[in-house]
Amino acid sequence: MRRVVITGQGTINALGRNVADTLEAMREGRCAITDLEFQDVERLSIRIGAQIKDYEAEAWFNRQQISLYDRFTQFTLLAAREAIGQSGLSFSGDLAARAGVVLGTSGGGMNTLDENYRSVYEDGKNRVHPFVVPKLMNNAAASHVSMEWNLKGPSFTVATACASSNHAMGQAMLMIRSGMADVMITGGSEAMLCFGGIKAWEGLRVMSKDACRPFSANRNGMVQGEGAAVFVFEEYERARARGAEILAEVVGFAMTSDAADIVMPSKQGASRAISGAMQDARLNPEDICYINAHGTGTAANDKTECAAVADAFGHHADDLMISSTKSMHGHLIGGTGAVELLACIMALRDGVIAPTIGYEEPDPECALDVVPNVARSAKVDAVLSNAFAFGGLNAVLALRAA
């Protein structure tokens, strides 16, 4: 069977403008959640988020590009530039035809939607910019990556709410494994921090007004973030032959559907995805040292996720570490699994386990080692990354050290 390795990684998120800065922030347990700044924020009851502050699109893109790139596309392109740069790959001829891009996003061009709805509904304008549709469409980011780097193979966008990035990276891995492609650019992006984006979430009453405290007994909801992370997935023999630096191996993937409830998570569905990823990777539960949790900080997710881990791992659940980095970078919704994969790769490469910050009180329903507040050193050979979406769609990835 063809093996799949990671030969490049890139990001921009509220913790850092690149991978090095992001990992440093995770090691130090820094919190990027602050007061939100955008038009009409005073009309919201939720006013915090992990927003990328002092970001100037003009510093990175020209006027014509900005007229076509929504914020989520800009984040994607910046992350992809770092990842592809690290991989050392350039795409032409046969390789271009055998390379594609699969990205996750939930809201796509949410800022573009919000700005143009405001323009026609609130300001009463009868004309919008001609590029509204190509700017807001969910596949805009994937398409611009394909154009920028000449990727001519299988390319599309996956939208499964909070599991979008994990589903996308799972597809990328399966395509290389099956022989459909040799290199895949994958990951995800989200830019939902605008009036309409937060207003919609407020309605569900699951957002915290003060902090994201995953697994802590006094947790009171999720906090949104924004940004992107992008990876270069490459067929192992090819990467080895060209002497590429291998960051980690993607060894397993599983996806399941709860088929139960549109918002409430299910222990069984999550547990089946976790076990499925280990089986796909031919790993035993005892091989897994660290799990990057979905860990949203809602009452329902965290207790269900801990029960699912206990179910899938049995007694080994007490020996492994599980942390939620959402406490630092917020919940990037469709981009979250991608940013969280950075923490998984850091665990495998650097032996540093990112903490769950904001942890204040033990919860008997979350009685696992959640690496509270302070990063930890540990030698780690295999890890999992969980993502469980609204709609009951679960996607879990398994990675091994290179």
Binding site: L204, R205, S208, R219, N220, V263, A299
Partner: protein, 91 residues
């Protein structure tokens, strides 16, 4: 006026429960009426719209905040409190 708040709250809850208002009684809980977590959030939204109030409710911890949803009677009392506060605030 108090009766009318009671009737309007019961009508909102009855609609969520797909029952006639006459079949919703003050001592019942939302659970008794078959209203799930999404139904609770929708009921609160309907109450906010009907009475032009802001209901302090976080689905992560329904017991926190000052809005008691432990029974139909408790919800009616909580809404009466919010409406009274609103009048005071405007006076």
């Amino acid at each position: 006026m108090s009766d009318s708040i009671k009737d309007r709250v019961i009508a909102i809850i009855a609609e969520q429960a797909v029952l006639e208002p006459g079949d919703v009684h003050p001592e019942q809980t939302l659970d008794d009426l078959g209203i799930d977590s999404l139904g609770v959030v929708e009921s609160i939204f309907a109450i906010e719209e009907a009475f032009d109030v802001s209901v302090p409710f976080n689905a992560n911890d329904p017991a926190s905040g000052d809005f008691d949803i432990s029974s139909v009677a408790a919800i009616i009392a909580a809404v009466e409190g919010l409406v009274a506060d609103q009048r005071t605030a405007c006076a």
